[in-house]
Symmetry: C2
Subunit: 504 residues, 2 copies
């Protein structure tokens, strides 16, 4: 039936490999060398992190700095690992922004811990691609169980957890942006099916053109981007005077849209906005979503970690009304990026909508364990739950709670220093590890202040603007941050303000 | 203007931290312990990889095996790292499918090397989020230069490279699935703009409903999935009798669709299909796309690594006609997952279409270096180019070429063993490190053979099916594979065939 003689190019046909048989020929780094290299890198990393405070937080390089520092092409012959080690300071560190310096207060924290680094070494050595259960059962199963551990730590309702016995459960996404998009796609699939049943005469394109989702105007930019990517309309709604989306606002918008023939399908509630760490009123929003049968996704990317401390769970009141919930242990819970935890009550809407199942990915155990490739945008996935396992065990819940509480206390320390200086005012209530503040006065003077602070090069901040009010954000980012660091950062800000105000 | 006194819950207000000042209180793992743990893990990894051949390639666990092996909740108190090390064999390795065993021949290879593991340690320590240039200049700039190195190694035309001075350049995506989706979104944006100019009276939804993309019926499942995610129609076209998509077939389909009022906008050419490693005729397809002004994306996820060897570049003839090109160093070029290299001639279609730019992400150097967050689906990104830098330098181009050539030679060795046994036939010409073969006879007997081989538990394979012909795939996956391993795998297949045929 099929030929078994091929018209192959003769130079590509099999020839005895001969001298290729020797393992070391291309195995540039044998186990012995790996051990030496790994040991040198371990020492370098410990030295780097333990003394990170002493480095200039943002480098003074200009765009294009790196190209002249390295050759134009990859080397033909292998180099020794010592040559690479020698280049790290010169080529890399000279252009690194040190996110783990106590002088770094920009954006939100990103996690970094020794247990997570070691876990990733193991993940890199096993290097399985966990797209199906059979592709590496441990990779899928540890993730299922770790997301149950984590969900319990947060006090998530049982109906989100795999241990509840139904289809629900957690999954590790790469980023909160992906979680938002996955939830949007699930919401879209669920609504499409319902509307198709109600209106079999409508085409998919017609239905799609009527779909509308909602979020707080202060929601993260990735929510708007998810709408663009998913090709659906998303409305940004006006929050109340504390930057919180309210149930009434949402309800009004929905009813207006329904009157205009649109189909509301998706709501994102943000717990901890990026601009000022405001919390949408989830409980109110949840009631509206339940009444209107709309998928409710909770984006708690940064602040979600705080829910491991029971005293902060009042901020997620109403979470049982959500369809999906997401937060990033890779932000504030000492698990290195990428580890964005997401729980879904009905993963079937994602799984079924995008289930493309070629024979080479089928296996005998399908259905009895999740095949996580259906739960995410990419097909491939690393063994990321190892990081979670290592961090949870080596810190223990108790120490992770202490970490959160300490960082929040440091934010309140900065808040106090700020309020003790009558030239300053706060822009937003301090709830987590973020302080939003400004000089009393114009936006211009605050822009000048931000430029001065960053220009002096000792600490690093980013600004934000809400309703045309420009303010500065100070996020507690480093796990090495101590009270003395906060005093130093405050002194730096105060000195910059002194300069700016003196010049005026 | 703003209050600076807040009605805070008193228990959340700042209180002196006192005993929290001691650094070690929650820093569960200090530098000294990290060094011990890292050293123990390094030894474990070297031991694991050097002896991986001796492990059972697929574990015999059943779904749900792991949950009873660990506690139901995360521990309250920290555990010592030695407790975690002790659990690795019991909990994890008992359920791992060993992708780097020379007995593993399923799917396609995924990369694993010592230099990449050490590079990821450094990436984990720096732990920056490279969403903008300023967020860590080194993270962006090394990526730009590494993608230039890599593009030159492959012989990509200069117009794909950043060093050409225009907007073009490379980016590291997480997976080929994401690259396919990003290219589709770029193609969609470019076509939308063109059609809107030509037909200002058409709505976006109307245009969207007319868009149609194309790929080989044998293209990867992620191409179909990208269509689903992007909400556009994708047509799978029939390949020729060598499983290759031809220019004529594409041209006919396009012209038929245009006659029916549709708007062709996107073509994916696959170089090395997953089922049988067939190569679309890129040169012919490229001509059609240029004539019709359609975005051409090249998916060379697996086979692309072979283009570092000049003798295989005939398979990418016509690449200069493409708009985007993607392959996975994390498959076959010894760079650990995730590292999917993508080049775009006109990244502006992605950058502008999904550019959502809040104040806290703006910086002064915008425009003079790429802000990679616009080039990808997620916002966050790790410092992944370090892996590429370490691997390219520590192996050298020469040894990476030897790696590719050796693995292809091993595939030809298996091909020869197969052809020397007259009960077997090949399904597809062997070009790369994949051999597609079957017992002469029915699909049933080949399904039985596959079950028997995997059931014996010594080696692991997955099957595929093209045009109703079921066949087995043997991929050369492990960098530890030697001639003797191929002989052993063949003996195992032969013995299974003996059993199956004897039972008949």
């Amino acid at each position: 039936m099929l030929l078994n003689i091929w018209n192959l190019r003769s130079d590509l046909r099999y020839q005895p490999i001969g001298n290729l048989e020797k393992k070391t020929l291309f195995d540039a780094m044998e186990a012995k060398e790996f051990k030496d290299f790994s040991s040198a890198m371990t020492n370098y990393i410990a030295e780097y992190l333990e003394n990170i405070r002493d480095r200039q937080v943002v480098p003074s390089v200009k765009p294009g700095y790196l190209r002249p520092l390295v050759p134009e092409q990859a080397p033909e012959k292998p180099e020794p690992w010592t040559a690479v080690m020698d280049d790290i300071e010169r080529v890399i560190m000279s252009g690194v922004t040190h996110w783990h310096s106590p002088r770094f207060h920009a954006y939100f924290p990103t996690a970094n811990s020794y247990p997570a680094i070691v876990a990733d070494m193991l993940s890199g050595a096993i290097a399985c691609i966990g797209f199906t259960w059979i592709a590496s059962p441990a990779c899928t199963e540890l993730e299922v169980v770790m997301l149950d551990w984590l969900g319990q730590m947060l006090g998530l309702p049982e109906e989100f957890l795999a241990r509840s016995g139904g289809e629900a459960g957690g999954v590790i996404q790469g980023t909160a942006s992906e979680a938002t998009l996955v939830a949007l796609l699930g919401a879209k699939a669920r609504t499409m099916q319902r509307v198709k049943e109600q209106h079999p005469e409508w085409t998919e394109v017609e239905i799609l053109s009527k779909l509308v989702g909602y979020c707080n105007k202060q929601a993260h930019s990735s929510v708007e981007r998810a709408g663009l990517l998913g090709g659906v309309r998303l409305r940004s709604l006006k929050p109340d005077n504390k930057r919180r989306l309210r149930g009434d606002t949402l309800k009004e918008a929905i009813e207006e849209d329904v009157r205009n023939g649109l189909i509301p399908f998706y709501v994102v509630a943000t717990l901890g906005t990026t601009s000022s760490c405001a919390f949408d009123l989830l409980d109110e929003i949840g009631d509206v979503c339940q009444e209107k049968d709309i998928w409710l996704h909770v984006d708690a990317a940064y602040a979600g970690s705080a829910f491991i401390c029971p005293e902060y769970r009042y901020l997620m009141k109403g979470v049982e009304k959500a369809d999906s919930f997401n937060f990033n242990p890779h932000k504030w819970m000492l698990v290195n990026f990428d580890c964005s935890a997401m729980w879904l009550k009905q993963p079937r809407w994602i799984v079924d909508a995008f289930n493309v199942d070629p024979l080479y990915l089928k296996h005998d155990q399908q259905g009895s364990a999740p095949d996580y490739r259906h739960w995410q945008i990419p097909l491939g996935r690393r063994f990321r739950s190892l990081k979670l396992w290592f961090v949870l065990r080596l810190y223990g819940v108790e120490n992770l709670q202490k970490h959160i509480r300490k960082q929040i206390a440091l934010a309140h320390l900065f808040e106090k220093l700020c309020l003790d200086d009558e030239r300053f005012e706060l822009f937003e209530e301090v709830t987590m590890g973020l302080v939003c503040y400004r000089l009393k006065g114009s936006n211009d003077i605050n822009e000048a202040l931000l430029r001065r602070i960053n220009g002096r090069g000792k600490i690093h901040l980013v600004p934000s603007k809400v309703d045309d009010v420009y303010f500065l954000r100070l996020a507690i980012c480093s796990r090495f941050s101590e009270e003395s660091d906060i005093h130093e950062s405050w002194q730096e800000i105060k000195a910059s303000a002194d300069e700016i105000l003196a010049e005026k």
